[in-house]
C-alpha cells in the first residue's frame, strides 16, 4: 500500500514502482509475524489452506476453466446423459472427467458452478450473522440493563432451537411472501438471510462477554472523559479489541454455514435445480444411489466434505494460534 499522504504533484509523474524495495513491506511484516510463523509450522493448516484456495479459485474462475457450461440449456445434449467418469460417451464421443448426470450435464462443471453458490451463500451468511451479532453483542455488553436483558434472552430462546429449524422457518415464511415467479431469483438471498439469522447468537454472546471485560478499562474511561459519543466508543475503541475471538468463530461458522446451505438445498428448500449448489447436486445424485451411477452423488459430496473439513481445520488452527495460553 502506498503512503496515503503522498499526492503526486503531476499526474504524469511516474510513481515509484516498488516502494517495498526501500522499507520493509507489510507483507514481510505479516510473514514474519506470530500468526504466519505458526501457520508455516502447521502442515494441517497448510494443506487445508491449499484445498480452500484451490476451491475458491475454481469457483471464482468457473466460467473460464469449467469444461462445459452446464446450465446453458442450448449447449446440452441429452444423449450425453449418464456417462461414467473417465470414459467417453458411447453416442457422442464427448469426454467427461467426472461423468455426467441424467440430463447430460458435466459433473465437474456443475461442481465448479455449485461451489460458487455454496461459497457465496456461506460467506455472505457469515458476514450477515457477524454484522448482526457484533452490533447486538456490543450494544448488549456496553449498554447493559434492560437492553442487555432483552437481547440476550432473545438469543437464549433462539439457541434452544436447532439452527436448521430456524432456517427452515425463515425459508418457509419467505416462500409464502415471495411470489412464485421470483422464487428462483430470491432463493439465494433467502438462504443467506435464513442461515445468517440462525447464526448470529454465537457472535453476539462472544462479543458481549468481551465487551463487558473491556468497557471498564482505562482507555474506555479516557474516551468517555474526553466526551466521545457512545457509538464511537463502541465501534472505534472497543470493537478492535474484541475482534480476535470473532475471527475464530467466523471461520468455524463459515464451515457450518456451508453445511447448513447444503442441508437446506438437500431438503429441497434451498438453491433451485437451475442454480444448484453442492447440496442441490447431492440431492439430485441421491436418486441414483441404488442404480450404480455413483459418480453423480460421489464427486459433489466429496467436494463438500473436503471444503467443510478444510475450513474447519483452518478454524481450529486459528483458535489455537490466537490463544496466548496455548502457545
Amino acid at each position: 500500500m502506498t503512503d496515503p499522504t503522498h499526492i503526486p504533484a503531476d499526474p504524469h509523474e511516474e510513481t515509484p514502482l516498488a516502494p517495498s524495495a526501500h522499507r520493509p513491506s507489510r507483507w514481510r511484516a505479516v510473514w514474519d509475524g506470530d500468526l504466519a510463523w505458526s501457520f508455516r509450522r502447521s502442515p494441517v493448516a497448510l494443506v487445508a489452506a491449499l484445498v480452500v484456495l484451490v476451491m475458491v479459485l475454481g469457483a471464482a474462475l468457473a466460467p473460464l476453466i469449467a469444461p462445459y457450461t452446464p446450465f446453458d440449456p442450448a449447449s446440452l445434449n441429452l444423449f450425453n446423459g449418464i456417462t461414467p467418469p473417465f470414459t467417453a460417451n458411447e453416442f457422442t464421443g464427448d469426454y467427461f472427467l467426472f461423468g455426467t448426470d441424467d440430463q447430460g450435464r458435466d459433473v465437474l462443471s456443475t461442481i465448479l458452478y455449485g461451489l460458487r453458490i455454496s461459497l457465496f451463500v456461506g460467506v455472505m451468511a457469515v458476514l450477515f450473522a457477524m454484522l448482526l451479532g457484533i452490533t447486538l453483542g456490543l450494544l448488549a455488553g456496553y449498554a447493559g440493563g434492560w437492553t442487555d436483558t432483552v437481547i440476550m434472552r432473545v438469543a437464549d430462546v433462539q439457541l434452544t432451537f436447532p439452527s436448521i429449524l430456524v432456517a427452515l422457518l425463515i425459508f418457509g415464511v419467505a416462500r409464502g411472501i415471495v411470489p412464485i415467479e421470483h422464487r428462483a431469483d430470491m432463493a439465494i438471498w433467502v438462504l443467506i438471510l435464513a442461515i445468517g439469522l440462525s447464526d448470529w447468537v454465537q457472535f453476539a454472546r462472544v462479543v458481549r462477554g468481551a465487551t463487558l471485560v473491556q468497557k471498564d478499562r482505562e482507555y474506555v474511561q479516557a474516551a468517555r472523559l474526553i466526551g466521545r459519543s457512545n457509538g464511537a466508543i463502541m465501534f472505534r475503541h472497543i470493537l478492535p479489541n474484541v475482534l480476535s475471538p470473532v475471527l475464530v468463530i467466523a471461520t468455524i461458522s463459515l464451515a457450518l454455514a456451508i453445511i447448513a446451505e447444503a442441508t437446506l438445498s438437500f431438503l429441497g428448500v434451498g438453491a433451485p435445480p437451475t442454480q444448484p449448489s453442492l447440496g442441490t447436486l447431492i440431492r439430485i445424485g441421491q436418486d441414483f444411489l441404488f442404480s450404480g451411477e455413483w459418480w453423480i452423488l460421489f464427486f459433489p459430496a466429496m467436494t463438500l466434505l473436503a471444503l467443510a473439513l478444510s475450513v474447519n481445520l483452518l478454524g481450529d488452527w486459528l483458535r489455537d494460534a490466537l490463544n496466548p495460553r496455548l502457545r
Binding site: D72, P73, A74, L76, L78, F79, G81, I82, D102, Q103, G104, I180, E181, A184, P273, T274, Q286, D287, F288, L289, F290, S291, G292, E293
Partner: protein, 526 residues
C-alpha cells in the same frame, strides 16, 4: 388419543379374528388427492377409491368389464335412449346401511353436479331414475351404445351418510375446499378405511361383510398405503422389506430390484400418454416475456416446439428405454388411435429455428413451464430435458416443478400457459380425450382443457359422438377431430408410459393393470 386407541384395539380384534392375516404395505410416489370419489378424476385418487368404493361396472386388472354393483345391464327394449341396470342384492355399506337404487340415483346426480370432476363422463345423461329398489334406468339424449364403459370410475356413495355428514355437494378441490367426505369414507368395497393421514399413511382393513367374499381371492386382509415421493427412498423401502409392493419402480433401479432375491418387477405398457399443453387461445399470456402478444398462439411456434422435442433421447436416456415415443395424445389402447396419427414429428432443429424466425421469434422468448414432480414416471427429469431441447430453438424455459396437489389446480383453473399432463383413457375411446382436453370448457365438458382452444365446429363434432349409432360415421368423426388436433399442434405429445410394478415374490395378481389401478381384492398371497 382415545379414538386412536379405540381404532388400534378394533384393528387388533379384527386381525386376530381372521385365520390368516395378510398385510400388504403398498407405496407409490404420490398420494390420493381426496377421498371424495367425485371430486378429482385422477389415477392415484381413483386407485385408492377402488379399494373402498365400488362402481356399477368395473374394469378388472386385465382390462375387461366386470359386473360390480350392477349384475347386468342392457338397452331398454322399448326405448333405445334408455339403459336399464339391475343392481346387486344384499349389498351393504361399511356403516351397515343397505345399498339401493336410491343411492345410485343420488351418486350419479352428485357426479353430474357443478363441482364434480366426473361430469364429462355423464354429459349425455338426461335423467337417472330408480324403477324399484334394485333397478335403475339411465335416460340419454340420444342412443348411447358405449355409455356403460363410462361408468368404471363412477363410485356409489350412501345417500343417507352424505346427508348426515353434510357432504351431498362435491368437494371443490380447485377452490381449496376440504370436506368431511374428503377425509372419511363409507363405501361398499372390499376394504374399510381405518385411518388416514394425507401424504403420510392410509390404513385399510378387509370388509368382512363384503358381497364378494368367496368370489374373489381376498387374501389381503389389511393394506397400509404410504406415499414415498423420493425415488431412491421408495426403492430402499422395497429392498429393505419396509414395503411389499410399489407401483412405480424408478426406471434406473429396475435391474437392481430384479436382481434382488425375493423381489420381482413386472412390466407392461400403460394406457397413459404424457404430453405438454400450451395456452394457444389467449391474446396475451402472463408467464412469458413478450408484451402484448402470445407467442404460443402462433401455430408455427407450436410446430417448432414439437419438432425440437427429441423423443428418442428422452426414451433412451431419461426413461432408459421404458417408454414408447408418441405423436398423438392417445395411447394405442384407444379406439381412434392410428399408427399414422401417432407417427413422430420430424426432429429437425434447423427447420424448427426457421419456423421460429418466420413467426417473428427468431431471437426466442421466455416462458414458464409448470410440471408435477410426484405424478408421472420421471416427470421432473422429462421437463428438465425438454427445457434443454427448447433452449436450442431459443425458447428460454423457466421450470416450475412442484407436487401434483399444487400442479393440477393450475390446469383446472386455467392459470398455466405451458404445462405437463398425462392422460389415461379408462373408457378406451377417443371421445373421453376430446371431452376433457379438446372441447371448449363449458359446464359439463372441457374441464382439463387449459389450451384456450375453442372451435365451435369441433365442439359440435365432439358432442355428436355420444349419440352416433352408426359406428362408421362415428369413426370418421373421431378421425376428423384427430386431424384437426394434429394440424393445430394443440398438444406436444412425448410418450406412452410403461408400468413397472415391483413386489415381494409372495404377492401375485392377474396382470399388471394397464390403467395402473391395482385392486387388492384380486391379489393372492402365498
Amino acid at each position: 388419543m382415545t379414538r386412536m386407541i379405540g381404532l388400534g384395539a378394533a384393528a387388533l380384534m379384527a386381525s386376530t379374528s381372521l385365520a390368516s392375516a395378510e398385510t400388504v404395505r403398498w407405496a407409490r410416489a404420490g398420494d390420493s388427492l381426496t377421498l371424495d370419489p367425485h371430486a378429482q378424476n385422477e389415477g392415484p385418487t381413483h386407485t385408492l377409491a377402488h379399494q373402498i368404493y365400488e362402481p356399477l361396472i368395473l374394469r378388472d386388472m386385465t382390462g375387461e368389464l366386470q359386473p360390480a354393483l350392477a349384475t347386468d345391464w342392457a338397452v331398454s327394449e322399448e326405448d333405445p335412449n334408455v339403459w336399464v341396470f339391475n343392481l346387486r342384492d344384499g349389498v351393504t355399506f361399511h356403516d351397515g346401511s343397505e345399498f339401493t337404487a336410491e343411492d345410485v340415483v343420488f351418486s350419479f346426480e352428485r357426479a353430474q353436479s357443478e363441482t364434480s370432476a366426473m361430469k364429462e363422463l355423464l354429459n349425455s345423461i338426461v335423467e337417472v331414475r330408480a324403477v324399484d329398489d334394485h333397478t335403475v334406468e339411465f335416460v340419454t339424449d340420444g342412443p348411447n351404445p358405449i355409455l356403460p364403459a363410462n361408468f368404471t370410475n363412477l363410485f356409489v356413495m350412501d345417500k343417507g351418510w352424505t346427508e348426515e355428514n353434510g357432504v351431498t355437494a362435491v368437494q371443490d378441490i380447485a377452490a381449496g375446499e376440504t370436506t368431511y367426505a374428503a377425509t372419511h369414507a363409507n363405501g361398499t368395497g372390499p376394504y374399510v378405511l381405518e385411518s388416514r393421514e394425507p401424504d403420510v399413511r392410509t390404513v385399510l382393513t378387509q370388509n368382512e361383510d363384503y358381497w364378494g367374499q368367496g368370489e374373489f381371492p381376498l387374501d389381503v386382509t389389511r393394506i397400509e398405503y404410504t406415499p414415498i415421493q423420493n425415488a431412491a427412498t421408495r426403492v430402499a423401502a422395497l429392498l429393505s422389506g419396509e414395503v411389499d409392493f410399489i407401483q412405480d419402480v424408478p426406471t434406473q433401479d429396475i435391474a437392481r430390484v430384479e436382481g434382488t432375491e425375493g423381489l420381482t418387477v413386472k412390466t407392461a405398457p400403460q394406457n397413459r400418454v404424457i404430453f405438454f399443453g400450451m395456452n394457444s387461445g389467449a391474446e396475451d399470456i402472463e408467464g412469458d416475456d413478450v408484451d402484448g402478444a402470445n407467442p404460443l398462439a402462433d401455430p408455427r411456434v407450436r410446430q417448432a416446439m414439437n419438432m425440437a422435442i427429441n423423443r428418442d433421447a428422452i426414451r433412451q436416456v431419461v426413461m432408459r428405454g421404458q417408454s414408447e415415443p408418441a405423436g398423438m395424445i392417445a395411447p394405442p389402447f384407444v379406439n381412434g388411435w392410428t399408427e399414422a396419427l401417432d407417427a413422430l414429428p420430424e426432429g429437425d432443429l434447423d427447420q424448427a429455428r426457421a419456423l421460429m424466425d418466420e413467426a417473428g421469434y427468431g431471437d426466442g422468448f421466455s416462458i414458464q413451464l409448470d410440471c408435477p414432480n410426484d405424478r408421472y414416471v420421471n416427470d421432473e427429469a422429462i421437463c428438465q430435458a425438454v427445457v434443454g431441447m427448447l433452449g436450442q430453438i431459443g425458447v428460454n424455459v423457466n421450470l416450475n416443478a412442484q407436487s401434483k396437489a399444487q400442479h393440477f389446480p393450475l390446469i383446472q383453473n386455467k392459470t398455466t400457459d405451458f404445462f405437463m399432463l398425462g392422460w389415461g383413457v379408462p373408457t378406451y375411446d377417443s371421445e373421453y380425450v376430446f371431452n376433457f382436453l379438446v372441447h371448449t370448457p363449458t359446464d359439463d365438458r372441457g374441464s382439463w382443457n387449459a389450451t384456450g382452444y375453442s372451435n365451435p365446429e369441433v365442439d359440435a363434432m365432439i358432442e355428436s359422438l355420444a349419440s352416433e349409432t352408426d359406428l362408421d360415421v362415428r369413426s370418421q368423426t373421431v378421425a376428423d377431430i384427430w386431424d384437426t388436433v394434429q394440424d393445430e399442434t394443440l398438444y406436444l405429445p412425448v410418450h406412452n408410459q410403461v408400468l413397472n410394478w415391483g413386489e415381494t415374490d409372495s404377492i401375485d395378481y392377474p396382470s399388471v393393470d394397464p390403467d395402473d389401478q391395482p385392486m387388492f381384492k384380486y391379489f393372492t398371497i402365498d
